[in-house]
Amino acid sequence: MTTATKTVSLGISQRIAAAAVAMVLGGVLLYGAGFASANTLHNAAHDGRHAFAFPCH
């Protein structure tokens, strides 16, 4: 079986774009779980927030 592995070289702009998307996405997740003040979100993530030492309450 021949495996044709494509080696596409990545430029720095592609890496920056991918990293930026990942950072925004990560920030949104962390904001929702760790910072958002909505009561429901706070109560659901309460113990996780305390355990990770996000400022809570």
């Binding site: 990545l10 990942a22 929702g32 009561n39």
Partner: protein
């Protein structure tokens, strides 16, 4: 490239979240549950006091942190006149600032609560893993598991240890400064720490390293928001200290797992390839 980051971050984050949930069960969660019994006790005391005294203190902030609480141990009088190093914040907020809306939904204690905590830990895990993988990809050098562990150590420093220097991990029922001020300070310490560590590690030339050092220490020189009476209510100080240490050690384990796994998943192919 984005698929690779997502793949690595989701796997590392989910596994890290599951790991940390198990680790928290050893000490962190029992301490939170224990602290809540004190928190409820304080809430009951405050409620009965506010009924008996001035109605204008019934909601919102009490004027001072110390005297309105029925202290089991008498540090209220003893520390009222001492000067605190961390006295620069608006010292008007107390535990009563917890706006626990009694009608709001909250998971039932037991299985439901554990499940939501697991879910929250996984979301936090994937969130942190995305930041970590983004950093590794931005750096652009191929990575090994060992280097992944180093990234994990730096994540722990930036997002756990450095912020905890100003705002130690707190139990429910702790008396502290207004939430927003603490969140802003926490973010500045974490972002300053992450950017600073990156500049020190990867900056070529002393000027970058100097700027990195400034980014790390500035939030700490400015100081985290605190109230004069750092530990109010009836929450025992030993419990708070135990929790702070348990939380920091658990986080350290979490970051090592996250860093090692992120490194392992991203090491499967050179980063110069799509």
């Amino acid at each position: 490239m984005i698929q690779r980051i997502l793949f690595a971050a989701i796997f590392a984050g989910v596994l890290g979240g599951v790991f940390v949930s198990a680790a928290q069960h050893l000490k962190v969660t029992p301490l939170i549950l224990e602290a809540e019994t004190y928190e409820e006790m304080d809430a009951a005391t405050t409620a009965s006091q506010t009924l008996a005294t001035a109605p204008e203190t019934a909601s919102g902030t009490l004027a001072t942190a110390a005297p309105d609480h029925d202290h089991a141990h008498d540090h209220a009088g003893a520390t009222a006149n001492t000067t605190h190093d961390h006295d620069h914040g608006d010292a008007t907020t107390t535990a009563s600032d917890h706006h626990h809306d009694e009608n709001a939904w909250a998971p039932q204690d037991g299985f439901e609560r554990i499940s939501y905590t697991l879910l929250a830990n996984i979301v936090i895990g994937v969130g942190y893993a995305l930041l970590l993988c983004a950093g590794i990809v931005l750096r652009g050098k191929d990575i090994t598991i060992r280097q992944g562990l180093m990234w994990g150590v730096c994540g722990f420093l930036a997002f756990s240890l450095l912020p905890s220097l100003g705002l130690p991990p707190e139990l429910p029922g702790s008396v502290s400064a207004p939430l927003e001020a603490r969140q802003i300070w926490w973010l500045s310490a974490a972002i300053g720490g992450a950017a600073g560590l990156a500049l020190i590690a990867f900056g070529r030339g002393w000027i970058y390293k100097l700027v990195g050092l400034v980014a790390i220490v500035t939030p700490h020189l400015y100081g985290a928001p605190h109230v004069a009476e750092a530990l109010g209510g009836s929450l025992p100080a030993e419990l708070a200290a135990e929790f702070a240490i348990a939380s920091i050690i658990t986080s350290a384990g979490f970051w090592l797992v996250l860093g090692g796994l992120s490194g392992a998943f991203l090491a499967r192919k050179p980063l110069s390839q799509a």
